[in-house]
């Protein structure tokens, strides 16, 4: 009944699934009582979230002086963590939007979780600029609202203000995209539920019926939101890089920053998706939906973007030398061989050398290697932001004000706390909504299910043909 498909396509859904089995497998994690592993992991995440809250309250109560930042290095861990989290978020949009436009079917296995990851990562990222403002209760001053001081408007020329608009637009559009995709699946959960859970999902699913016209509009909306999100995600990290690139600090004032930041963002984001997916597919038993083929595809993206980032690092060094401008040359000499040399070599090793292992098919398709390297890449990308920010500021124009930066326990707690917050939110999400997009997986079943394509399907067909031949022989 289904039309023939090319044999080069990968099997994306294993285990000879029927439509009903897909609903069953993907809804069950929201229905059964949490496992002991989940409770344990959730307790750890909650503890770190509590640590985060404590450290933030401490900062606001005592002031920014509790941090290790000083007059020379006035931006350090806070902005490093901000850029790191924003970058991690970008993979979600890339998977859900850009891969939708490119019609990459493997996105359906991971897009829901990756979009959720985007939202939670942006929540974590947003904390840092807000806390760094010091007087958190005046944070609304960043928006241009009519006020009694004139009204005095915000400075629309400032890249920091562009950031405000970019991040808030990115966050709200990501939420819309994610939730609209989620509505049909929440309806599936609703139709299986009883009692209080049914009432709850009736509210969350907005009265979805699955009518043909609604599906048509839903697809149209998803496609256009994808089309809008694609330039949006590129603009967000471009603008984040403008925070540095539009300044006049040697080492920051470079035109390569926007593409290099975007590639780095996708690189670290995919690494975080891998970290999360490797755990999620195991704990929620989704190995047949998030297959080795998915992991393989994502590792290919990691090796590509990792190489782009590597080329960008070398280009930066070359341009610094080629510019003949001694301040630029010093900034880069200092970056590589200065006081933070260990961060630079850590970054080079984690971001440029380690992902090259993924050229090997065996490593690309190994769960343990993927998990290990995904963490290495994320450490490397954190180092990258730290190298750009702290190293550059530590050696500024006046040698008399050169300084060294060490984080205090407060900054370390805030950072590790946001990692806890991230997992805290993600684990709540896995309990409330299907982690894999049910409707979208069903829609690709007949072109990516292992009973239709791949070696298993071929074997089945062969067996059928042999049976027919045997019967004919018997008849003869």
């Amino acid at each position: 009944m289904s039309h023939p498909v090319a044999p080069v396509r990968h099997v994306l859904i294993e285990g000879n699934k029927s439509y009903h089995q897909i609903s069953e497998d993907l809804s069950v994690p929201t229905e059964r009582a949490p496992s002991r592993e989940w409770i344990l992991a959730f307790s750890v995440a909650s503890a770190f979230t509590a640590l985060y809250v404590f450290a933030v309250v401490w900062t606001i109560w005592k002031g920014i002086g509790e941090w290790g930042t000083n007059r020379t290095i006035n931006w350090a861990w806070d902005i490093t963590n901000f850029v790191w989290w924003i970058g991690i978020g970008h993979a979600g949009t890339l998977i859900s939007a850009i891969l939708l436009l490119f019609r990459q079917r493997w996105r359906t296995g991971v897009n829901r979780a990756a979009e959720a990851m985007t939202i939670f990562a942006v929540i974590c990222a947003g904390q840092f600029p807000l806390i760094h403002m010091g007087r958190l209760w005046l944070a609304f001053f960043i928006f241009p609202f009519p006020n009694t001081r004139g009204p005095l408007w915000v400075n629309f020329n400032s890249p920091l203000l562009w950031d405000v608009f970019a991040i808030s637009t990115y966050f709200s559009v990501s939420v819309l995209f994610w939730y609209t995709g989620l509505v049909p699946d929440l309806a599936t959960v609703r139709d299986r539920a009883v009692g209080f859970r049914k009432k709850m999902y009736e509210i969350f699913s907005f009265g979805w019926t699955g009518s043909a016209k609604h599906w048509q509009r839903w697809e149209s909306l998803s496609l256009i939101l994808a089309g809008l999100s694609t330039p949006l995600v590129l603009s967000v990290h471009t603008i984040v890089s403008f925070d540095f690139a539009t300044s006049v600090i040697p080492g920051w004032h470079t035109t390569i920053f926007p593409p290099y930041f975007v590639a780095g963002a996708i690189f670290s984001g995919f690494a975080m998706v891998q970290t999360l997916m490797v755990i999620t597919r195991k704990v929620l038993k989704l190995e047949e939906y998030i297959t080795i083929n998915h992991i393989d595809s994502m590792n290919k993206v990691i090796v590509l973007t990792g190489t782009i980032v590597g080329v960008a690092y070398l280009t930066e060094l070359f341009i610094a030398w080629y510019s003949g401008y001694i301040y630029e040359q010093f900034a880069f000499y200092n970056r590589v061989f200065g006081i933070y040399w260990w961060a630079y070599f850590g970054m080079m090793f984690c971001n440029v050398v380690s992902p090259q292992l993924f050229w090997s098919r065996r490593i690309r398709r190994s769960i343990w290697w993927t998990f290990f390297l995904s963490i290495v890449v994320n450490i490397g990308m954190w180092f990258e932001r730290f190298v750009i920010i702290a190293t550059t500021l530590a050696r500024d124009y006046l040698p008399s004000s050169w300084s060294y930066y060490r984080p205090t326990w407060v900054e370390i707690s805030i950072f590790t706390g946001t990692i806890g917050l991230f997992f805290f939110l993600f684990m709540i999400f896995t309990r409330l909504a299907p982690v894999v997009a049910i409707a979208e997986v069903k829609a690709i079943l007949k072109v990516a299910g292992d009973q239709y394509i791949g070696p298993k399907a071929r074997k089945e067909k062969q067996q059928q043909a042999e049976q027919v031949a045997e019967k004919q022989q018997e008849k003869l």
């Binding site: 009944m1 289904s2 559009v173 907005f206 009518s211 609604h214 409707a439 829609a443």
Partner: protein, 176 residues
């Protein structure tokens, strides 16, 4: 949509290909389909069912253009007219530095406008109670529904024949 209750005759199919050929048969036999429900978007169904293309994307453009104009004009008014301030010796009306926010406002307006429009025209909102014919429609059943509130016995049997002929797994009646 009327608030009065409707009597609906519906058939459930097990596969989207069966659904598509059934819809084709129904259209050829001039049967008036009320709606078709499915657990996922069935590609190729819309032309068979006679649904015209959604015009949501046209509205998306309108919303986006509104956002772009609003963002750009607001910034121009605020910085060049309402309270002109000199920032670093740059012009009072620095058009290039308005580009990022103008772009963000375009995306923001288009995305929110389209999403709100989508939920409004589909009659979906938190707290709306879905008129569901069968719980399995969001699972693995494909459904064709006919409005039979004023149908006579003869046309009822004609519809039942149609379901039987096109291979519906189940046929039910329900009042919505």
């Amino acid at each position: 949509m009327s608030a009065e209750s409707k009597k609906v005759l519906y058939g459930l199919y097990n596969d989207e290909e069966e659904l598509k050929s059934a819809v084709k048969t129904a259209r050829q036999g001039h049967l008036d389909i009320m709606d078709v429900y499915s657990p996922f978007p069935v590609h190729g169904l819309d032309p068979i069912l006679g649904l015209s293309e959604s015009r949501l994307h046209i509205l998306g453009f309108v919303y986006g253009a509104t956002g772009a104009l609003f963002g750009f004009l607001f910034m121009s008014w605020a910085l060049a007219k309402d309270w002109p301030i000199l920032f670093g010796g740059k012009p009072y009306w620095p058009v290039p530095s308005f580009i990022p926010i103008t772009f963000e406002m375009t995306v923001l307006f288009a995305a929110w406008g389209m999403t709100i429009t989508f939920y409004t025209i589909c009659g979906m909102w938190p707290g709306v109670k879905a008129k569901i014919l069968d719980n399995r429609i969001s699972d693995d059943k494909f459904c064709i529904a006919f409005d039979v509130t004023e149908a006579e016995q003869r046309s009822m049997s004609q519809l039942k024949d149609f379901f039987k002929k096109t291979g519906a797994a189940e046929v039910h009646e329900k009042t919505l």
